[in-house]
């Protein structure tokens, strides 16, 4: 598996959740993963029910079987200051720039610059070595911006090319680009089996491909089991209804006569949804990408649910 796993997808489809589950799944047998977020929302802290992180990598979870998950909320301003300090020993000037609002300005007026700093930090973590000469992290998983912005976000080179034509930011962009376009990176898109997210996924994959960024998997999230299909439901008329009512009664349900109609209505809605999902699956199938399906956690998401998703991902072969 690629060492930099980028997780994007339409807003609200479960990017943060899936990224976290993926980081847990990859932290197998003593491996170490870093989960990074880039949008300054402290989504990871919320998910793991911990306090907001300071700007540092810290251990947030032990994976099933003993690996470790670290997390970092990357902040563009801090990344820039670190960077100035690291390469230019510009600590003081950095602070002055900050006071003037210059950093705010630069990262605002030129989002490409901010993106270079964010992706740059992630790439630095990917390449970082430990004292023994191995990689500091086996995998870096990024909770990335949504599908609509992911290509621009990752395609930093193009973004800053018009702005910073020479100089360190330019060089940094080039270095980042080499990692992002290599097989070391995989960009996954999370989707639901609904029209809008699937459409966005199809468009997003086309854009990623157009920019020659490495596409990974389509991760279908919140999949609900199919209990009954449409044909079965529509088959229930006349005498068949009576049989259903009798069967309900036999199973201990009282007042079953009045329940048959609403239960069948619900089943018809279910069947309709199943049909729509079939269409959406077919649309995703056309993309020619491997697909993972993750179940809907009916009780709502919490740590237990997150570990369950991680287990599902391992069953699907993540981290082999």
């Amino acid at each position: 598996m690629s060492r930099l796993q980028v997780v994007s997808g339409k807003g609200g489809t479960g990017k943060t959740t899936v990224a976290a589950a993926l980081a847990l799944a990859l932290a197998k047998e003593g491996r170490r993963t870093l989960l990074v977020e880039v949008e300054g929302r402290q989504g990871i802290a919320q998910l793991f029910e911990t306090e907001a992180f300071p700007y540092e990598e810290r251990k947030i979870a032990v994976a099933p079987g003993g690996g470790e998950v670290y997390a970092l909320a990357i902040d563009a301003e801090r990344a820039l200051l670190d960077y100035l300090q690291m390469f230019y020993k510009l600590g003081g000037a950095g602070r002055a720039l900050k006071k003037l609002g210059a950093i705010d300005f630069a990262t605002t007026i030129a989002p490409g610059v901010r993106d270079v700093l964010l992706t740059g930090k992630a790439c630095e973590a990917v390449r970082r070595k430990n004292k023994q000469g191995g990689y500091a992290y086996d995998y870096v998983v990024m909770d990335a911006p949504p599908t609509g912005r992911i290509t621009r976000f990752l395609n930093v080179n193009d973004e800053v090319a018009g702005l910073a034509k020479i100089g360190p930011i330019h060089n940094q962009a080039q270095a980042v680009m080499r990692v992002l376009k290599s097989p070391e990176t995989a960009v996954h898109l999370v989707t639901l089996l609904e029209e809008m997210p699937v459409q966005e996924t199809v468009d997003g994959i086309a854009e990623l491909r157009g920019a020659e960024l490495p596409t990974g998997k389509v991760i279908v999230n919140m999949v609900r089991p199919h209990v009954l299909d449409e044909a079965a439901v529509r088959g229930v008329t006349g005498d068949r209804r009576k049989e259903v009512a009798k069967t309900l009664t036999r199973a201990g349900v009282t007042g079953s006569a009045k329940l048959v109609t609403p239960l069948l209505e619900q089943a018809a809605e279910h069947a309709e949804r199943v049909e729509l999902e079939r269409e959406q699956r077919a649309a995703l199938g056309q993309l020619g990408l491997p697909t993972y399906e993750l179940p809907l956690i009916g009780e709502g998401m919490d740590l237990a649910g997150l570990y369950r998703l991680a287990t599902e991902l391992r069953k699907l072969g993540v981290g082999e």
Binding site: G11, L84, G167, E195, R240, G255, T261
Partner: protein, 473 residues
């Protein structure tokens, strides 16, 4: 004992009131703001008003069905709207809106310089708030044209519902920022004087930024800032004007939310924020709420019943109504026997039940691909999902067993539905407890997406009916 104290939100009076001039649909992303805005537009137009709907990022098929997928940044009349009113709709093109402002407020040469500047291009396409700002700008423009008596606005799919209120200010304070002033100072004050006044700051900064970004970067920034200079005042004035427009009595905010924890938390923030900013809140639209006409059957009982049907049939006991070993079921039956009436009722009016079903099934618009599927109707279980130990691969299952499977499936679906209902109810109660004063309209979830006028009308009807779907409350 329920917290259903929230009064229902009366949509039609709001739409019919000629004093209502602007309706803003806001809320966090993915909750159905665009659909709600479009549905309100259709309904208001069909009730006789001359309406324009400003949508942001509509689903492609929805945009096509309204004839606004061409992205020319001006309202188009929507065909097939019934009644005396008119519906116009448009889809926001944020970059184009920004370009138009530049063109309208700068002389041609300056406009050209701005439009081709890489910083302008980056800002107009990517500033984290440009879309919000441009939505408000467009609203101001539509209002100024005064061609419509009602404007319905959708808001950008922000991660936070508050973004679009803050964006204009953010852009304003950004343009007012110390750093921009600093960059412009040399130009304004004739170079040297400004530099001297700002002493260390500027030279150190020019040096650092130049080092970091390369010389041309800074040059581009300075030209851009200088070119934009004359327009800055205009941006702020208009942002302020739009802000006041949002506080005016003719404006009504509808907060749209799905009955989910995150969306309702955002909605609560937004309600508080509107109050703090003196902006008039009409109510909360709770979208995609689930109901059940069978809500008296609890999830637990439905599951227990499903399990009892799924147990391997005991040949010795095939016809027994209550297998003796199933103590759980026994208990349920015993409890219920007294109040819920005799079991014979299941046979007493089968015809009434059947015709009922036909009537109400007709309401559910089926999108079946082919009726041929129905031919294989018997087995009733999706073979993809059920192990072969449950359904023979050849589907040659005995009829009795297939009814049991089918009924168990119905019960399982119902249990799932009841769990959803319970979860939605909890999140909703939490909101109502925080904000009992906010009127609420609930819109029952449709099984599929909405992408035509008929679908929008259905949503409009549900909005106007306002109350919770059966069993939801």
């Amino acid at each position: 004992m329920t917290l259903d104290a929230a009064e229902p939100l009366a949509i039609d009076p709001l739409l019919d009131d000629p004093g209502t001039r602007i309706i803003v649909c806001c809320g966090s992303g993915g909750v159905g703001k665009t659909t709600t805005a479009a549905a309100l537009g259709v309904r208001a137009a069909e009730r006789g008003r001359k309406v324009v709907v400003l949508t942001i990022d509509p689903a492609r098929r929805l945009a096509q069905s309204m004839g606004i997928d061409s992205l020319d940044n001006t309202p188009r009349r929507v065909k097939d709207v019934e009644g005396d009113g008119e519906l116009h709709a448009m889809m926001l093109d944020m970059k184009r809106t920004f370009d138009e402002i530049v063109e309208a407020h700068a002389d041609p040469d300056r406009a050209k310089a701005i439009l081709s500047n890489p910083f302008y291009q980056s800002l107009s396409a990517g500033f984290a708030g440009t879309q919000e700002y441009m939505a408000m700008e467009k609203l101001g423009q539509l209002r100024a044209r005064d061609e419509w008596d009602l404007i319905v606005v959708d808001t950008p799919p922000s991660r936070s519902a508050l973004d679009f209120l803050d964006a204009p200010k953010r852009l304003g304070s950004f343009l007012d920022g110390k750093f921009i002033k600093l960059l412009m100072a040399p130009a304004k004050m004739g170079g040297r004087a400004g530099m001297k006044f700002l002493n260390v700051g500027m030279s150190m900064m020019t040096g650092t930024l130049g080092k970091l970004l390369g010389g041309p970067f800074l040059h581009d920034v300075q030209t851009f800032v200088a070119a934009m200079d004359t327009m800055f005042g205009g941006f702020r004035t208009r942002a302020d004007a739009t802000y006041r427009l949002l506080q005016a009595p003719g404006t009504a905010f509808l907060v749209v939310a799905a009955p989910e924890r995150d969306a309702l938390r955002e909605a609560a923030y937004f309600v508080e924020r509107l109050a703090a900013d003196d902006m008039p809140l009409a109510g909360l639209v709770l979208n995609r709420v689930h109901g059940s006409a069978a809500s008296r059957l609890s999830a637990e009982r439905a599951l227990a019943a499903a399990e009892s049907l799924e147990e391997p049939p005991d040949p010795a006991d095939a016809s027994a109504e209550n297998p003796a070993e199933n103590l759980d079921d026994r208990r349920i039956v015993d409890q219920e026997a007294g109040k819920a009436g005799d079991r014979g009722s299941s046979d007493s009016s089968p015809h009434a039940v059947a015709s009922d079903a036909h009537a109400s099934n007709a309401d559910v618009s089926h999108a079946h691909a082919s009726d041929a599927d129905a031919a294989g109707a018997r087995a009733g279980i999706d073979p993809d999902q059920v192990g072969s130990d449950q359904v023979g691969p050849d589907r040659e299952v005995p009829d009795q067993e297939s009814v049991e499977r089918l009924t168990a499936g119905l019960l399982r679906l119902h249990a799932e539905r009841m769990q959803v209902l319970a979860r939605e109810q909890r999140t909703r109660d939490r909101f109502t407890a925080l904000h009992p004063e906010v009127p609420v309209a609930e819109v029952a979830a449709l099984p599929g997406d909405v992408h035509d006028l008929a679908g929008l009308r259905t949503i409009g009807d549900r909005l106007a009916a306002g109350g919770p779907p059966a069993g939801a409350a």
